[in-house]
């Protein structure tokens, strides 16, 4: 069944979302965070999800990346039906196709900058993880800081390490959650440049969640969320209605 589903999807579409809803239980009440989201993301596309706090953009990102499961609806990532997969299967999908950049950087504190970059490559069993990591470290301008631990790096440096880590497996799709959210505007700009530069270099599909209009503007496509609904999709330039 999984194969049938996969074959029925256009190979050019990296991410396909059909009528996805997300509900959570709060005390005894059920709260709907996402109302019937439909979305398609093509290969190599850069997409910004914007919206006010609590609009559901981070929740959507966690579902798209397979970190969480939708309450209903379908999500296909590289033709893989994430909504049908258990935690282990989704892990495999992430290892194979996905890269991450987080607002909090989320480097592993007890590993050096170099070792942090190597983690996804090692998980994907890429043999030359170390040499690749060294190269990326140089690409993000931190050749001299490979032996340093995250606590010895500034916020901007930590995010550069995180970017190098995200690209080491040359993922098909990269998810970024407020990548400049914890940085001052100057450092933020540097990071944005680096992100788009590497994105172009590797031809990665980029999905990012941000409050930063400047950052959003650099994407080919912007979708806006409000109260769990997808309100505007700039690329196709029409309002989508709430189907839920």
């Amino acid at each position: 069944m999984v194969e049938e589903l996969a074959n029925s999807i256009n190979k050019n579409i990296v991410l396909q979302v059909n009528h996805v809803t997300k509900q959570v239980k709060l005390d005894d009440k059920s709260l709907t965070i996402l109302h019937g989201i439909d979305l398609e993301v093509n290969k190599g596309e850069t997409l910004a999800i914007v919206g006010s706090s609590g609009s559901g953009k981070t929740t959507l990102l966690s579902l798209l990346a397979g970190l969480d499961l939708p309450s209903s609806g379908e999500i296909f990532l590289k033709q893989q039906p994430l909504h049908l997969f258990d935690e282990e299967q989704r892990s495999q999908v992430r290892a194979k196709y996905v890269g991450f950049i987080f607002q909090q950087f989320l480097l592993i504190n007890s590993l050096t900058a170099l070792e942090n970059i190597m983690v996804p490559a090692e998980l994907a069993q890429i043999k030359q993880a170390r040499s690749l990591a060294l190269k990326l470290l140089a690409d993000v301008g931190l050749s001299e800081r490979g032996d340093h631990f995250p606590s010895q790096l500034s916020g901007g440096e930590q995010q550069r390490v995180a970017i190098a880590r995200a690209f080491i497996t040359q993922p098909d799709i990269l998810f970024a959650d407020e990548p400049t959210g914890n940085l001052d505007s100057k450092t933020g700009e540097h990071i944005t440049d680096l992100l788009f530069q590497l994105n172009q270099q590797f031809g990665t599909t980029l999905v990012l969640v941000t409050h930063d209009q400047k950052l959003a503007q650099r994407c080919q496509r912007i979708i806006e969320m409000d109260s769990g609904n997808l309100m505007r999709d700039s690329a196709i330039n029409h309002l989508t209605s709430n189907l839920a």
Binding site: E87, S91, R94, L106, S110, V119, L123, D177
Partner: protein, 834 residues
């Protein structure tokens, strides 16, 4: 689990190497190291102290074990002891007359075999400055107590007659290791070789003879022999070691042993609690790393392998370090006490090794089970939602492995299911109550907080906000402080108790056979020399013949005598009766009432244990025979006697007019300091009929043993304090992450360093003081049970320790808290730079 991937091992080692170097594993490492080191050093050290003490004090009975009997032992018993390669020495004791020229004297005769004594020293003086530790005298020779040289008017190399045989005097007895502490022994000692006994023809069918068979050897062989022998013993045979000899020393040793066991057990519990707290922290610390690994696509299997292997290396390294440190601590302890432990001790024991490794593994498996399980299950979603943390959800079910481990440890170390259950379930009840109290105290802080200064308000607000974690933290602090207090109080009371029993002016001489006219002279001598002395008690020998007109001849016979103890020998056939107007000191009425001083009724006060043995109740009529006279008295009260007090003690004390008409001799005990020794000898030389019993040497030995025990107890207390401190540190460390976040926020909001420092200080001071208060309460309750049930001491309230607990609790917790947070307070500034 499938075969472990090399990649997971590599990642584990990498994490481990960095974390160890960066000090992130220090607390959990120290906790396991301490648990293992504590168990290793405590088990081996306390076992060795016990062995050495028992070994040394065994000299008081001249052997490891003694079998005392009124008949010759069957050959198969002796054969079996030989098969087990036990050393055996034999003693035959009896009262006999000795004759020299025209003099004669009733003596206590000991015929001893070649190996006597197996433990301790028999010191014999054979000339000026010529004192040796010897065994049995050669055949045909005799050694006499010093006093006999005067009363028999003999000197070394003279001959004396014992029974039908003649002996040459070749030595003066300076010290007999297993000399009776009884003041009523039948005379000065005389020692001959057991092979000469037959030719004296003293043993006749009706002779009253006591046989003592002394055994010594390897502990396991002694135990084997004991297990084989004891079921065969009859009522006239008594098997004892130093601890069951019911002497003052035995009581000290028994209490010390119980204390050492209890201290070890509490030390182990504290170390285990430290491991549990640190393991939880370990789990929490690694959660974000696991979430990142998972988000990057790591499988659960991979995470499991990485962290189980990580934990495995950590535990193995801690275990090995713990064993080495434990061994070193034990060596240091033994070295420090080398002067006290004259017996050479074995420095390595497989039992200790096994116990330490067992404890380490149990702690590492059981206490880490729940935190590791939760860690492995960490959701990758945590990378986005920080508070998606299942580890904060407490469930009793998840704590089952940890609780089971604690119970297993209790059982393993106490070897007593009942004690383990009492400690375990008692502990759960106490912890539940403490949790409730802790929550109440947190709520109460709200009332106080509204009237407090800014820093204090912030501190109290923090306490309340973290009420859940703080309650847990408070309970750990409380338990650690309580256990430490408990040991401290018991330690000081045990030592005080021993010292109280043996104050500096404890009687070191007993005078027996004082005639009524000599009593005043003695009193004069005592006053003149300002000596500490008991009063002079009249003594009349008499026999209890009937209870409520029922003849009891058979009840108070050999059986009772054999079951009695060394300190109370000779009460069997004839009791030493006395009369008193007032209740003697260190005696306590436990039933009935003491009589009026001028009563003319015929009353008797009976010692409680004898009363119990003979089923004597208040109001019973006891009939005594004194020579040809028979009279009956009514039991007025039952009396508890402190047999350990070195003063004349009596089973039966009569009201004054009952015995007044009978001829009595007097007995008194007194303390003769060294500088009065000469005057005392001079005084005694005027009254040759007075018998002197010198217990000075025995007292000195007793004091030495007690000081050894006290030192051992203090050494173990240090280890337990270390374990307790680690619990406190681990617990403070456990809330560091959250504190870090809060401090960052407060800093960002513009809180000054001083305010933050003070609020943290107040928070920890308040926690410490509260823990000290709760600990004192819990200590008082536990102590009541321990002292009454385990140590047989009288319980009392310990107000001074409440103050110590509250003060030291707040100082220690405050200091540790500040120390742990110091870096955080300064580090938070970094967040501005991000």
């Amino acid at each position: 689990m499938s075969f472990i991937q090399p990649l997971a091992i590599q990642q584990s080692l990498r994490l481990f190497r960095h974390e160890l170097r960066r000090g992130e594993l220090t607390i959990i490492f120290l906790a396991i190291v301490l648990a293992v080191a504590t168990v290793f050093s405590l088990t081996s050290f306390s076992a060795q102290i016990k062995t050495a003490l028992v070994d040394e004090s065994s000299s008081f009975i001249g052997a490891d074990r003694v079998l005392q009997t009124s008949r010759v032992l069957p050959k198969e018993i002796i054969d079996y002891s030989q098969r087990l390669q036990l050393n055996m020495a034999q003693q035959v004791l009896m009262a006999s007359m000795v004759f020299a020229h025209d003099e004669m004297q009733l003596v206590s005769l000991r015929a001893v075999s070649a190996l006597y004594p197996l433990k301790g020293q028999l010191l014999i003086k054979q000339g000026e400055n010529n004192i040796h530790a010897l065994h049995a005298p050669p055949r045909g020779e005799v050694w006499l107590a010093k006093k006999l040289f005067q009363s028999l008017a003999v000197k070394l190399q003279d001959n004396i007659e014992i029974g039908d045989a003649y002996f040459t005097i070749t030595g003066i007895i300076e010290q007999i290791p297993d000399a009776s502490f009884s003041v009523f022994t039948s005379g000065p000692s005389v020692i001959i070789n057991i092979a000469d006994l037959e030719k004296t023809k003293l043993i006749q069918p009706a002779s009253r003879v006591t046989y003592k068979y002394l055994f010594a050897g390897k502990p396991e062989n002694i135990d084997k022999f004991e297990k084989w022998l004891t079921p065969q013993l009859n009522d006239t045979q008594r098997w004892y070691d130093i601890k069951s000899s019911q002497s003052q020393l035995a009581s000290a040793l028994n209490r010390a042993e119980k204390f050492l066991s209890l201290a070890s057990l509490l030390g182990i519990i504290l170390a285990a609690v430290a491991v549990a707290v640190a393991a939880r922290r370990y789990g929490q610390r690694h959660q974000s790393s696991v979430a990142v690994f998972k988000a990057m696509g790591a499988s659960r299997q991979y995470i499991k392998q990485v962290y189980l292997f990580h934990w495995f290396i950590l535990v193995t390294l801690s275990l090995l370090t713990g064993l080495i440190i434990g061994y070193v601590i034990q060596l240091i302890g033994l070295w420090a006490m080398a002067d006290y432990l004259s017996t050479s001790s074995q420095t390595f024991s497989f039992y200790s090794l096994f116990a330490a490794v067992f404890t380490g593994i149990i702690c590492a498996l059981a206490f880490a089970f729940e935190p590791l399980q939760t860690l492995i299950r960490t959701s990758p979603l945590k990378v986005i939602r920080e508070n998606d943390s299942p580890i904060n959800r407490y469930s009793l079910l998840k704590q089952i492995p940890a609780l089971a481990a604690l119970f297993i440890l209790l059982w393993f170390f106490s070897q007593d299911l009942y004690t383990s259950m009492v400690l375990f379930f008692g502990g759960i009840v106490v912890i539940t109550l403490l949790l409730l109290l802790a929550r109440l105290a947190m709520l109460f802080s709200k009332q106080v907080g509204s009237q407090a200064g800014q820093a204090l308000q912030l501190a109290l607000a923090n306490l309340r906000r973290r009420a859940n974690e703080n309650s847990v933290q408070l309970v750990s602090f409380t338990i650690a402080i309580k256990l430490l207090l408990l040991l401290l109080v018991i330690k000081s009371e045990l030592i005080n108790d021993w010292q109280a029993q043996l104050p500096d002016n404890t009687a070191n001489r007993f005078l027996i056979n004082i005639s009524p006219e000599q009593v005043n002279h003695l009193k004069h001598f005592i006053v003149e020399n300002k000596l500490a002395a008991s009063k002079a008690y009249p003594v009349v020998p008499g026999r209890l013949v009937a209870i409520n007109e029922e003849k009891i001849q058979r009840k108070v016979t050999k059986e009772n005598e054999d079951k009695s103890n060394q300190g109370r020998q000779g009460i069997g056939r004839e009791l030493n009766l006395t009369w008193q107007k007032k209740l003697p000191i260190k005696n306590q009425i436990i039933a009935g009432e003491w009589w009026q001083e001028n009563t003319d009724k015929f009353l008797v006060s009976v010692e409680e244990k004898l009363a119990k043995r003979l089923a004597i109740k208040i109001g019973d009529k006891l009939t005594f025979q004194l020579g040809a006279d028979i009279f009956t008295v009514t039991v007025a009260n039952l009396r508890k006697v402190n047999w350990q007090s070195l003063q004349p003690n009596f089973y039966m004390i009569f009201s004054p007019n009952v015995l007044a008409e009978f001829p009595a001799t007097y007995i008194a005990s007194l303390y003769i300091p060294a500088e009065k020794e000469q005057q005392f000898r001079l005084f005694l030389s005027q009254y040759p009929t007075i018998t002197l019993l010198d217990v000075d040497a025995m007292l000195r030995q007793l004091r030495t043993v007690i000081s050894q025990v006290s030192l051992a107890i203090e050494f173990i207390l240090v280890l337990v304090v270390l374990a307790g401190s680690l619990v406190l540190v681990a617990q403070v460390q456990a809330t560091m992450d959250e504190r870090q976040r809060e401090l960052a926020i407060l800093r960002t909001l513009g809180a000054k360093g001083r305010l933050l420092r003070n609020s943290i200080l107040y928070e920890f001071l308040a926690l410490g003081a509260l823990a000290g208060l709760l600990a004192s309460l819990a200590m008082e309750v536990s102590l009541y049970f321990l002292q009454t049930q385990l140590f047989e001491m009288s319980p009392r309230f310990h107000g001074e320790f409440w103050l110590i607990a509250i003060a030291s609790g707040s100082v220690f917790v405050g200091f540790m808290g500040m120390l742990s947070c110091w870096k955080l307070i300064n580090k938070t500034a970094l967040y501005h730079q991000i």
